[in-house]
Symmetry: C2
Subunit: 293 residues, 2 copies
């Protein structure tokens, strides 16, 4: 399946209007941004407050029905954490055109996840944002200053995961997203108490978009032709990335050497993050107005 070609449909709430030459709707590109940031910003409407709730959470894209799916396939987002049952209940019929199925709890029906064919629209509408800052873009004038960044936003319906098998799938997915292979290397399986005390949410995605700025600063001819200005104002990019340091053992640690799967992850993660920031600094943007590469 040529999954790298899939795109999210453009909805009124998901379409990038300003600087739309920076926009992408590619599942591959959006899911990759979501999967490589340390945290996601999850926001949703609280009917009792004028302010949306906005909280950092840990999450990862996955498919319980088809665990071998690629990053560019249709996937669900799994989030680690609780959202109060009051809000999940309140949201149950929000925006739904079908009658509520009385008596069920607030979790979505099993199998309602990855198939992209959810007609009931139950669950709490959440907006999930992930942002990599790749560089500070320093131009001749404050107005042309910018950031290089890769940001992604997903729009979907969140429901608590109740099925123990799906819950354990999501726990492993998220643990291995913190450090690859960490699940297998830690004390598993979780006890019944641990399973019960862990909150996991499945978000069925309705739409998504990414917005990316890369490259060097651009200035007006007016300033570029002013030798006094160009002679004193340095212009370029200060690359930015998320770095990891040497692992620091805790007071209860009994393992003498840091295992290779952790040191490799730190080394490879740092190289990838730095290289990406440097690449983004020199990568040319497609010009405004064009919609294809």
């Amino acid at each position: 399946m040529p999954s790298q070609n899939l795109e999210y449909p453009k909805q009124p709430f998901s379409t990038v209007n300003r600087y739309n030459n920076r926009a992408s709707y590619s599942l591959q590109q959006i899911h990759q941004i979501i999967n490589t940031t340390h945290f996601l910003n999850v926001s949703f409407v609280d009917p009792d407050s004028p302010y949306p709730v906005s909280i950092p959470m840990i999450g990862h894209m996955g498919s319980f029905d088809r665990p071998s799916a690629d990053t560019g396939d249709v996937l669900d987002l799994y989030l680690h954490g609780y959202i109060s049952s009051r809000l999940l209940n309140l949201s149950r019929n929000h925006g739904s055109s079908s009658p509520p199925d009385g008596g069920a709890d607030q979790t979505a029906q099993p199998g309602g996840g990855s198939n992209g064919n959810s007609s009931t629209k139950s669950g709490l509408p959440v907006t999930v944002a992930a942002t990599h800052v790749d560089g500070l873009v320093l131009a001749l004038t404050p107005n042309n200053h910018s950031y290089n960044y890769r940001s992604a936003t997903l729009f979907g319906r969140a429901a608590a995961v109740a099925d123990p098998a799906e819950k354990q799938y999501a726990m492993r997915l998220i643990t291995d997203a913190v450090v690859p292979d960490r699940w297998r290397q830690s004390r598993v399986p979780p006890t019944k108490g641990e399973m019960a005390s862990t909150g996991l949410l499945r978000v069925t995605i309705e739409a998504g978009s990414a917005k990316i700025r890369s490259g060097m600063p651009g200035d007006e001819r007016f300033d570029l032709e002013n030798a006094e200005v160009t002679g004193r104002v340095w212009t370029g990019v200060v690359p930015v990335w998320s770095a990891m340091g040497d692992p620091m053992p805790g007071p209860d640690n009994k393992v003498e050497h840091v295992p290779g799967y952790i040191t490799d992850f730190v080394k490879d993660g740092n190289s990838w993050a730095k290289e990406t920031a440097l690449e983004q600094a020199t990568k040319t943007m497609k010009p405004k107005g064009k919609t294809e590469d």
Copy 2:
């Protein structure tokens, strides 16, 4: 003024409920987190969509009326960017108990900013979130895995800045937040066209909170007494911080050497970010249930 002691009032929407031993309402602490992240996540309700709008923006705390105010004082948040005038207009009377003053544009009244005495509550309600990830906390069991982090949330009303003097104050505040002293070192003042094309928002803050996790992993006695588990599972913290690389000159740059104010900023910023992550890894949390240090 002992500004470091000021706290935001606890509102229903701003009170941290889960892990409230990690909560802080200190203006100093919250504003410092806001001012040291590269970007802020701004979310607000769109009445036409079940999903809140959630976008990364650049911003900084400041006071136009009292520019010399400290980080821990009552301040406004200035954001760089546009929010559609449709939404700003829609929000004008949202939640307001006073009648609209007909004929005025959608900006707040001058002086309605820093005094903390805004009775009209005009402006778009926005939730602003800033998050530093300080480390990956690797415990014996997946359940006790965590992140070290410092996150802050502000709740306030956003209005477009119209007064040219306040606009230029905010432009300078935000430019100098990207790289200290950058405003003075670039081509200023902005032209009339640059002033007109720059969107700036002032957020009058109603409440705020911070949530901080620091320190090493904690595990259950059950696992700590299991030699098979402690003998093979490494536990500790992988510190995480935002790093900056060597400045990369752009194709139009004519300044041979990177100026000292930029190289110093990169060097000092990297040291501060790394030291903070290492300090947070070894800093003990206050125990659950206690509300004071």
